[in-house]
């Protein structure tokens, strides 16, 4: 192994942008707009990969609380205000019922939330924290702190970066 002809980091991690035709030896394609398809230039892949990595970083912390990362996000919403409909949860998390229904059922099976139909409108399902679910907030307080230690970014840049990412994609309201 290590045969590895080339590949190594000849790809200028920085941003040369503007191409400039640095004589790329693409043996196959005649003349592409290949810069556009380079993985290391993709903002979307950076987001996708960062999201995957974050889930992996949360896992050991959340295992101790008996939560997955999406479940933890649902708990964040419920800790802010507890009786919520599935729809409100979906709006807050930008997830649909196909994701939330089984997730909430698992959380119910674990004793963190209770689910019941809204008597005033039987189409809706109300999700409410149990005492155990509310009590989990206390040990969860250390999670963001611990996770922030993995960020290779000064704390005062976290807020601006978050706001840039939030502004990147306008909210869909179909």
């Amino acid at each position: 192994m290590t045969d590895d002809q080339d590949t190594t980091g000849q790809d200028t991690t920085g941003q040369d942008t503007s191409g400039g035709a640095a004589a790329p030896p693409s043996s196959s394609t005649p003349q592409d707009g290949g810069e556009l398809l380079r993985l290391d230039r993709q903002l979307c892949f950076a987001l996708y990969s960062a999201s995957n990595r974050i889930t992996r970083l949360y896992r050991p912390l959340l295992d101790k609380l008996g939560l997955t990362y999406p479940q933890y996000l649902a708990m964040l919403v419920l800790w802010e205000r507890s009786p919520r409909t599935v729809g409100e949860l979906g709006d807050a998390l930008d997830l649909d019922s196909g994701t939330l229904t089984p997730l909430l059922k698992r959380m119910e099976a674990n004793g963190l939330v209770a689910r019941r139909r809204d008597p005033a409108d039987e189409r809706r399902v109300i999700v409410e924290l149990t005492d155990a679910g509310a009590a989990l907030r206390e040990p969860a307080l250390s999670v963001p702190v611990t996770l922030a230690c993995h960020f290779a970014l000064p704390l005062d840049e976290v807020g601006p970066l978050r706001d840039r990412i939030k502004a990147l994609l306008p909210p869909e309201k179909p």
Copy 2:
């Protein structure tokens, strides 16, 4: 440490959890630290949600190519250099064999790649683009352009934002 990353005033929505009055904080939790758990302050949720949304934006474009977004990412890697082992693909995409093996089998079933054992080292599996897979590069060139139209960000800020995100989490190499 890290009391909170601040960013402008603390009440954005003004939604109050209880009675709607001026929030007597003494009622529920003793001393909160609750700012840390607010969903709208979470950098990680911003990344998670942006990643989900991006996958949804890619879907209609990639459906026309017969690809999912993770499959498209694998194709980006293979379009850069085609015979690759599964391990090299996993390194490039930061995904493990449990994800890649079935993904590559589906791509093989769709005629985009061929998979074969490396004769020099039978433990490895070599993945190579088929002619159809290589030909798909051409129509894929328009995908990044079309997708970039959804970004609510000036083009000259895309590169810096991407690099910030890439720098956020140091690469794991265990």
